[in-house]
Assembly symmetry: D3
């Protein structure tokens, strides 16, 4: 028996040497697993699936805005049936992704391994309850975009076309997941939008109502950023961290507040960079390409020109 | 009868509370529609579909460049059959999207509500007639890219690979739609390319032959920009508006010329920002990361260094 | 017979005038082909297919990381079967794409037209042998990202979510293809990642182990760049060419070293631009938005502030 | 212009002579249209689509039996949402198919051409109202199959597996459409089941509750057959017409009753053939392979043996 | 809140009255569930899926005959990888279908409800082990068809084209499942083949090596039939039950031997009907359309003519 | 290296014992190949693909009847473009299938191995030229069905719904392929229709214009049958072979005329069986279920009753 298999294997060694490559790839994989202290016991997939989440987000967009982002043949008179059926499907898919993340996480934090099914159910229930609030916030974002862009003709154009709105639909959902304790799912949701829009918002960022991102490509908003209401930002704006505090062992300290606070009604023009736990005060305007690493007073205007005057005492930048 | 349904509903209230969420989402939707003064009468989809336009663009790309972007099995001897059949399908799909936009627009401008079918047919006919001219312009763009990039090996590589070419295929089609009076379709077409390339060109922008965008991510070109022939720009260049004029009521005035005029043979290097209705004269070169808010003379070179000398009289930047 | 066809054609002239447009498009196509000196003889597709390469890359990702990027239902105990079967399919698809490029290239370099099948087979065999090494390098990239980002929770999150990792999977494969003599395939592979991540790495660039790109949107790395080990860069960093040398006829000289050398352990912060064949010495730090066109000493820190001091003697920037 | 097209056409005449075949096929098509007195004016599709109806039937099966023939992930608590949304989609698809048939039919019966949209809406509304009754009848068919087949283990197995049930789901829907005045749709629905099961029931046939067809392949039931309650038949049974009455001109007279009446509780075994407007009386049993062309008394048993005795006076068979 | 939903519902009552139909369908469904004594508690799908099994069978066909029924691009040198990966996928899919059937069955036989997962695993393991034997039997069927049909050119044509072979691939798999205790899965597998070929073999039937069914449409073979080696049958042959024994309460007795025994090397020509637990002796030939309800001696020939002579003492036929 | 692979293999031996099954299946496959004298050298697929032919037939149906079986959105004014493009695609697909069959056949008939590509091209060219004639014949079949069935309302209903027409579209194409020397492709085409309709026509059968099969399930027509014009047959009719002549070695003699000749205007009613090289004379009528093994005179009526009178001298039936 083994002999026959042997023959087969010799024959197939030929064209591309696949047998050899398979074997060498296995060696590399096993080396990685040993280094990462993964158990050798055979098992199935341990990780949530990006494709599954892309499908979930697509359906959630439809359930939140049925007549505009739902199926083209949908009619108003049966919206609720569509919304109900779609939610049912979506929440069950989400439930299994939540279970995957909780089960994956439990390998690192043993005490939490208990009752994964119960915790997953609770998370999805609370997520479900949060959806009407998310829709309200998104309506405020659409209004802000419509009012802030002279090229916008109607609110529906904004919802259909603006990448900033797509990014915010993903962010408001991702932020909810982040708060409910499934940060990996949240991150995947955020990265799907990042790939489609070039807008990179960490799901941890807290963003108030009526947020408008114009054009958007190159925007980066960090994990601990806090943004107020009716804030407007343009392409290539960074709300980032200045440096990463390390602990005594030289390890990065994770989770500390390290990104800006942006208060209500602030505008940040294209290419501006705001770094560190600074505060941009209510109603301030930050000009294009400006580099900010200290607080900005409420109501003030900061531009390259104004900064240059201050640079008698240049801030340390990196 | 109603009693039986009642039973059913009680039973299904359980797992995720979907019934409750559906009801609350309906409340939020209806509040939005009231605020937007949407009629309550039931009806079908009122908006063009992004998926439909993505399919249309994909097929148009094939019809314009059959041997390079058409189906892999296509042969030269039957190109015309393929082009003819594809155009027939595409133009009919486009016709129904045009009808959707005209009908949607007519809700806001009552007088135009008449004869939507006739107007849609006229628009698609004129669009059809414009296609050979669009192909010619795109050929000039390909030539420019091939000549302007030392890494380009062949014109075919440019057509297959360069995101700037993909963006221009979409833009030249979107601009035609914009001029024919369907700006929402035009915008969707532009945003599809924006999502794939990070290049954001408003369909209103007027762009001459032989335009080349290298790398492209982060480029923004505004609605009223006017660009001459053989212009070359690099990644992260903005041709934007300085500020939005408001009318006496503080409302944004829409449609005024507010973006730059860029004359023939200009080059704008990466990260440069040109704001407002300024003119970059024929053959001028704008250096990388430069910030321009006033006219640039024909044939001149503007760099960060040169600007700094002028900044005795700093321009107001925001 | 011809008469009946004639009738048909008259009838179908109607709705969109498709017959006329088909004819005019053919004229434009034939003009292009004449100008490009393409032979008029009928033939099939001459170019590799972006869709085919997208499928190949998708499968290669699975074969390299079966339990994390392979099919969700995969189990560890049958990984090798999956990897072997997937490689077999992928390498055969790749073989036919390689043949297409070699055959396309042979039209321009007649002497190479010989033995295309043999050369294609050799290329795919060597590519196959390189895969375990590519996986090892990618493991080092994942480790670097995990160690360099305080927001990263696990190595698996990095592999699943980070656009910089996606870009590097494509780059390490594209670079191998580039070195094996199929630069068009390499470029298509690179542009697929560029479209998904906004990170534009030319397949010619040489990049050492442990490379980490954070956020990534707007990054551009040129064809002749050379990057050492454990280098870290942020969004919107450009490692570009300063100017293109021309030969005596004014033609661009292709293939000369014209992009930076970045030595081991360098960090380049967001928005920095490094142009020309300069060297960033081992362990140097280049601050955000800094513009560099000359060598940077090993171990030094360059920031906007430090640069400004030197600008008594401003470097020529463009 | 025409010259360029001419060139193109000469070039592509080569490989398979497609141009010639296209031209000859057009000649044959036009000859057919002339013979069938079709107008030459260009137009779109005039006929319902088999694919569209297959999709409609598939969804209707799910809406009628959501937990058993609906989507696998469906849960009981959200059945009604699924049923409502599915019906909404299905009925709108059906509406457009009904319009196609009415509009097609109106070419032959001019007076009916009026108000096609109104009539289509009425038909679909009445069809919608009939669905609960159809489900009840199908439940009775399932019960009959379960009780009549010793191999049946559960009612769910019957619904999932038995081709006779699949045929009856299609028939009860097709019969409703037939009665509502869209016989072409009805016929397509019937033929979809015929293709899948080998059971050929004309949609005009009237069939009572609790009908069971075992095995089924080769069963034929004609347009004017009338079948009572709790009737059971086996594979290859024909309930057909003996001969077709012609009118004085030798033309077939259409629509006359010409197929059997089968009363309640009759059993017809495999291969039996019953021809003409005869009556099989209540509770009669017709044996396998028996050939019947005259009435059979209620409660009697007819077998090959018994028939042979009567064949002193052989019935005329054809 | 409820009020807003109320409004919504009134609005949507319009076009097709869907709300009303949904409600009435729910009533019918609940009546059915009450009658079938189904629990009212909400829950998910309880039944195996025909689509899932169709996919499983399709893949099993490929794993059994990789170079002829596997993917077209497969090459002999990597057969084993393909077979291994496919089996892994298929057996896991089968495992979940087996679980569904066992769990469904346990509702009717409480004691068996224990250890469903263990039992499912055992069943799939034994099924897996049986596959090489199944392939051997199918090879013998192919040989028989090739030798028995003068129109067959090669064994590969037989495997690719003959519906009798398709039916036997399904039957030999279904029979294995039937013996392992999952009769519902077995039945679904059999009905998939029945739908495609018109050949209806109950999975309980026991069939020896080298079985050949020519043409096949209309063949019916019952649950307790026992067929020897090298038997050949033609289209429309029935190996059925004569009558169903009832117990004292008039209920059908299930599971008793009630179908024919057909010994080695028998031939049964088209349309013949063999009913009841009779034995067709080794090497006998049963002529076309013959009706047999008693034993046939080994080596004998039975035809309509020969039967007619015996019909002085006619057998009772029904 | 081999050691690491060894480890992997031990690990994965677990759940289903797949490694063992893969090995045993390889043994069975290799035994089969040895017995069939297949070379052991590795190679790719040697056989045509049923899926590819199903796609080809689907497209051919559209090209033959564009407005009724083509894509729903097709319009008359661009029929020729659709037909031309579809034919181009279809004929190239067919070309590669023809090559596969010729190359497969050449393994058995060495002398024919030369010039496969040339022969394939010739076959497809002649097939292409035959298409207009095939369309004409099919038009005659549609007319016959319409005239022969009192339930048929229009010729379009016949084309859309009647399984007999579907079978004839496949047969007329398959017969052409059979005559051009690719009998395996022809057989696959025939079996696709057999699976969908239950009508089994061997591609070798020669059938005149205006052929009508009503209902159709169970019809079998053999390889050497010859059928005249305007013949009509019903379900379950067999035109078969009586017995297979063997040569002196007991081997079946292939290719001899062994099926009936049916002259013009004959009608054969349901279930009739005609066996052997007999002739049914012009205009004869064969009654239902009749069994015929000798010539039938032109114009005569044969029924069960009439036959019985002759059975003083019963024909030998098997």
């Amino acid at each position: 028996m083994g002999q026959a298999l042997q023959q087969t294997k010799e024959i197939r060694a030929s064209l591309f040497g696949i047998e050899q490559v398979v074997s060498e790839l296995a060696v590399v994989r096993h080396a990685w697993r040993r280094r990462q202290q993964r158990s050798a016991e055979p098992g199935g997939r341990e990780l949530p699936s990006r494709d599954a989440l892309a499908k979930i987000l697509n359906d959630l967009r439809g359930a939140l805005f049925p007549m505009r982002l739902g199926p083209p043949e949908l009619r108003q008179e049966s919206e609720d049936f569509y919304v109900g059926h779609t939610l049912d499907t979506v929440l069950h898919s989400l439930l299994s992704q939540v279970r995957l993340e909780l089960s994956y996480a439990s390998r690192y934090h043993e005490e939490e391994g208990l009752h994964i099914d119960d915790r997953a159910l609770t998370i999805v229930r609370e997520f479900s309850r949060a959806l009407p609030g998310i829709r309200s916030l998104l309506d405020s974002d659409v209004i802000s975009a419509y009012q802030g862009d002279p090229a916008a003709r109607t609110v529906d154009e904004v919802l259909l076309c603006y990448p900033g709105i797509l990014a915010m639909i993903h962010h408001r959902i991702a932020h909810q997941l982040y708060q409910l304790g499934v940060p990996l799912l949240a991150r995947i949701v955020a990265e799907i939008a990042h790939g489609q829009t070039g807008i990179d918002i960490h799901p941890g960022a807290s963003i108030g109502a009526g947020f408008f991102i114009d054009h958007g490509t190159g925007v980066v908003i960090g994990e601990t950023a806090v943004i107020g209401q009716r804030v407007r930002i343009y392409q290539a704006v960074t709300l980032g961290a200045k440096r990463f505090p390390s602990d005594d062992d030289g390890k990065l300290q994770k989770g500390l507040p390290r990104h800006p606070i942006v208060e209500d009604d602030v505008v940040v023009y294209a290419g501006a960079t705001v770094l560190g736990r600074v505060t941009i005060g209510r109603g301030a305007i930050v000009g294009g390409n400006v580099w900010v690493t200290s607080d900005v007073a409420a109501g003030s205007h900061v531009s390259q020109a104004s900064l240059r005057h201050e640079q008698q005492n240049p801030v340390s930048l990196v």
